[in-house]
């Protein structure tokens, strides 16, 4: 189960509003390579993982992604807090304001609402771990794009943290994959599914 702690994983203190940046950053909230996709993917895949290490890593990285989701949501909230409707409209958030006012809504930078189509939970450990490796690279690349778009250090700082975490997650998934491959090579199975069907 999950326990909530009244703190962010890493500080988000944005002193200057910037609706234009909010429009882009929201992609890491509800977009294809964002934190909602990541947490849902890993927390769904964990059920069918075959080893202690893989169950743990999917569980724990999935949990950390929820903390990242919270950080990204906080960034969007702080970037638009108190900004009047006409300014939001001028900065490209007119359509968003129409349906969501100053709320945070899971969608991509292009306005596509979140969908589970962004994730797969294949039940095959090799397939799932490869998907996870790709997901971390996509997230890293997206954070790099956002960092390129930003110029406020209050915004760049948490984005940099989030980008670095993707790199670490990629590393951990790589190790998990190697462990699984070694384990099944040991038994000299010529199969890709971990559980032999009798």
């Amino acid at each position: 189960m999950w326990v909530y702690e009244k703190k962010l994983e890493y500080p988000v203190r944005i002193r200057t509003c910037n609706p234009k940046m909010a429009k882009y950053i929201i992609s890491q909230y509800g977009g294809p390579d964002g934190e909602l996709a990541a947490s849902l993917r890993y927390l769904s895949q964990r059920f069918s993982m075959p080893t202690d290490e893989t169950k743990a890593i999917l569980n724990d990285i999935g949990t950390e992604e929820l903390a990242h989701l919270e950080m990204v949501g906080s960034m969007v909230y702080q970037l638009t807090r108190g900004v009047p409707a006409d300014v939001l409209e001028k900065e490209g958030l007119g359509a968003y304001y129409t349906d969501h006012d100053h709320a945070v809504y899971p969608m991509s930078a292009a306005g596509v609402p979140f969908t589970a189509a962004y994730i797969q939970s294949k039940g095959d450990v090799i397939a799932d771990l490869h998907e996870d490796l790709a997901a971390e690279q996509k997230a890293r690349a997206t954070y790099e794009n956002l960092i390129n778009l930003a110029d406020d250090p209050d915004v760049i700082d948490p984005l940099r943290f989030l980008r670095e975490r993707e790199v670490v997650h990629f590393q951990r998934f790589g190790e998990a994959l190697r462990l699984v491959q070694d384990k099944f090579a040991e038994k000299k199975f010529y199969m890709t599914t971990p559980m032999p069907r009798m």
């Binding site: 009244k6 962010l8 500080p11 890593i57 919270e70 670490v168 951990r172 998990a176």
Partner: protein, 81 residues
């Protein structure tokens, strides 16, 4: 948020982050004794900092932190503010 509160909270976030990162590392390196010792030491540090923070500023953990009356959990600021 006053200076002392912010400073303490940042120290807690830093200690907790070390614990999280070591947790992920240990998931794929379960036999690393030193990493486990390091993690456990940082937990002691985090607990100490949390006790200091919580007696002045209220509960952090929904399951384990004590509250005075009236119910402190609901009090702002919340982490996104």
């Amino acid at each position: 948020m006053d200076e002392n509160r912010e400073r303490l909270m940042r120290e807690i976030m830093a200690a907790d982050f070390t614990i999280i990162d070591l947790n992920l590392y240990l998931d794929t390196h379960p036999n690393d004794f030193r990493a486990i010792m390091l993690r456990n030491n940082f937990i002691n540090r985090s607990v100490m900092l949390r006790n200091e923070y919580e007696c002045m500023y209220g509960p952090i953990n929904a399951q384990l932190s004590m509250s005075k009356c009236p119910w402190q959990w609901i009090k702002s600021p919340w982490p996104w503010e």
